[in-house]
C-alpha cells in the first residue's frame, strides 16, 4: 500500500473537470472560478442546458471567440474574451453579486489550497509574501446553493489538501459542500468528510493515508471512473 504511486493513478485536471461537469444539473445557473474550474464548461454533458454567470456582469456567455475575433469589452472574470449565447444579459457589478450572495446561482465551483472537514475553504493566499489578491472568491463561497471545489488531492510537494482545519488564510467558513479531487469525490456534511467515490485503483486505507482528516462513509462508496483519453 505504501508503494502505490499516487501520480500514476491520479486524475488529470481535465478528468477532474469532467467528473465535476457530470453533476451540473439541467437548467442550472453556474459560476466557474477563474483558472482550472473554467475547464468544466468544456465537459458539460450533452442535453443539459446550463447558463454561465461571470462576476463582471454577464449571464449566458458561451465559448471563447476564435483568435483574432476577440472583442475585449466582452470578457469574463478571468479577463478572457468570451461570446454570448442567445438569451444573454449584461448588468452592473452590484447586480452581479446580488446574484451571487442572494442565492440565485445553483452552483459555484472554485479551486482550493485547502478544504477542511467542516467546509472551510482556503484558496486565496498561502502566506504573507507577495501581492495579495482576493477577487470574487469570498463572495462566491456564499449564496450559491452548492459550492464545490475541484483540486488535486495533494499539493505539488505531496501535502494533503483535505484537512481537519485549514492552516492557510481562509476564503470562507463552512461553505464547501462537495470536493472533486484527483483521487476522490467527497461531500461535506455535518462537519465531516463523507467519501462518495474513490479511484478503483486505491483502497480506502490508501486514500485515507493521503487525507489529513477522517474520511467517513455512509456505506455507499462508488467508483470514480472518468474517460481515460482526457
Amino acid at each position: 500500500m505504501s508503494d502505490l504511486n499516487i501520480s500514476e493513478v491520479a486524475l488529470s485536471n481535465a478528468q477532474i473537470a469532467w467528473r465535476a461537469a457530470q453533476d451540473i444539473e439541467d437548467g442550472s445557473y453556474v459560476n466557474l472560478g477563474i483558472g482550472f474550474p473554467e475547464m468544466i464548461a468544456k465537459f458539460q454533458p450533452v442535453g443539459r442546458d446550463v447558463t454561465y454567470h461571470t462576476e463582471n456582469g454577464v449571464l449566458g456567455f458561451g465559448n471563447a471567440p476564435l483568435e483574432g475575433e476577440e472583442d475585449w469589452d466582452l470578457i469574463n472574470a478571468g479577463k478572457k474574451a468570451i461570446t454570448l449565447n442567445p438569451g444573454a444579459s449584461f448588468f452592473h457589478h452590484a447586480d452581479s453579486f446580488a446574484m451571487v450572495r442572494g442565492g440565485h446561482l445553483d452552483l459555484a465551483v472554485l479551486g482550493a489550497y485547502q478544504v477542511a472537514q467542516n467546509g472551510d475553504l482556503a484558496n486565496w493566499r498561502v502566506g504573507s509574501k507577495g501581492v495579495p489578491a482576493v477577487g470574487g472568491a469570498m463572495d462566491l463561497v456564499h449564496g450559491a446553493k452548492r459550492v464545490a471545489v475541484v483540486t488535486d488531492h495533494l499539493t505539488k510537494d505531496g501535502k494533503p489538501k483535505l484537512v481537519e482545519a485549514c492552516t492557510f488564510p481562509l476564503t470562507g467558513v463552512g461553505c464547501v459542500t462537495r470536493v472533486y479531487t484527483s483521487l476522490a469525490v467527497v461531500d461535506i456534511d455535518g462537519g465531516k468528510f463523507i467519501l462518495r467515490e474513490k479511484l478503483p485503483a486505491m483502497t480506502l486505507a490508501q486514500l485515507q493515508s493521503v487525507t489529513c482528516a477522517k474520511l467517513h462513509s455512509d456505506g455507499k462508496i462508488g467508483d470514480l471512473v472518468v474517460p481515460e483519453d482526457l
Binding site: G87, A98, R101, G102
Partner: protein, 239 residues
C-alpha cells in the same frame, strides 16, 4: 431552459395558503392584473390560496387587482407604504374592522428591503424613519454624525410581476414607469412569475437592454393584451 407557461391559471396554480406574495406595480402602473385575477379565480373555485400576505406599495384600488383579492377575503396581511387612496374601500373596510393586518413601511425602505433580500444583504442602515414611530423597536446607530435605523431584508415566497417583453429564459423589459418595484421583487422571491405582453425568442431582447436577467425569473406567461389597472378602475370594472 424553457420557463414559459401556457396560461395565467397554470402559472399561479402552486401558490399555497399562507404564502407571502410580492405583487409588482405602483398604483395601476406595472400591476400584473391577469395574474392577480387568476389567483382570485382559483380562490373562488377552490377556497385556496387563503390567508395571503401581500407586499405592494399600495393596498388596491376600486374593485379589481389587489382590492379584489382583499374583497374576496383571501388576504390576511398587507405590507405596504401607502394603503390610502381615493377608492381603497376594500382595504379600508377590512382594516378598520380588524380583519386584515397592516405593516406600514416607508416607500424607500420597502424598496431597499426587497432589494436587500434579492442581494443577500440581511440588514442595512437607512436614515428613513429615524426618530419616528415606524422605527420603534428597531436598532439605531450613528455613522459619521448622523443617526440611522437598521432594517431587515424582506423576502417572499412568490412574486407576481408584469413585464413588457420577455423571452423563454426569463429576461424581461418593462414599459415606461411600469418598472417600479417589479425588477426588485423578481430578485426577492423564491419563485417569480412574470406576465409579459410580448414573448420573444432568446436573443429577441438586446442583452444590453435586459432589465431583469432571467436568473431572477421562474415562469413567464404571455398576456398579449394586458388590462391596465387604472383604466379598469376608472371605468368601474369589478372582478
Amino acid at each position: 431552459m424553457d420557463k414559459t407557461i401556457a396560461t395565467v391559471g397554470e402559472a399561479v396554480a402552486e401558490i399555497p395558503d399562507d404564502a407571502q406574495i410580492m405583487i409588482g406595480g405602483f398604483g395601476g402602473s406595472g400591476a400584473p392584473i391577469e395574474l392577480i385575477h387568476a389567483l382570485i379565480d382559483r380562490f373562488r373555485a377552490t377556497g385556496s390560496p387563503k390567508n395571503i400576505t401581500v407586499i405592494n406599495n399600495n393596498a388596491g384600488n376600486g374593485g379589481i387587482g389587489i382590492a379584489a383579492m382583499i374583497k374576496a377575503g383571501m388576504v390576511g396581511k398587507m405590507i405596504c407604504s401607502f394603503p390610502r387612496s381615493s377608492n381603497a374601500e376594500a382595504f379600508n373596510e377590512k382594516y378598520l374592522s380588524g380583519e386584515i393586518a397592516l405593516e406600514l413601511v416607508p416607500q424607500g425602505t420597502l424598496a431597499e428591503r426587497i432589494r436587500a433580500a434579492g442581494a443577500g444583504i440581511p440588514a442595512f442602515y437607512t436614515p428613513s424613519s429615524y426618530g419616528t414611530e415606524l422605527a420603534n423597536g428597531k436598532p439605531t446607530e450613528e455613522f459619521d454624525g448622523k443617526m440611522y435605523v437598521r432594517e431587515r431584508w424582506l423576502k417572499a415566497d412568490f412574486a407576481l410581476i408584469k413585464g413588457q417583453m420577455g423571452d423563454k429564459v426569463g429576461n424581461l423589459t418593462y414599459r415606461l414607469a411600469g418598472r417600479n418595484f417589479n425588477p426588485l421583487m423578481a430578485m426577492a422571491a423564491d419563485k417569480t412569475i412574470a406576465q409579459v405582453s410580448d414573448l420573444v425568442a432568446p436573443g429577441g431582447i438586446d442583452p444590453e437592454q435586459v432589465i431583469t436577467p432571467g436568473i431572477f425569473v421562474d415562469m413567464v406567461v404571455q398576456v398579449a393584451d394586458p388590462k391596465q389597472e387604472e383604466v379598469l378602475v376608472r371605468t368601474g370594472v369589478i372582478h
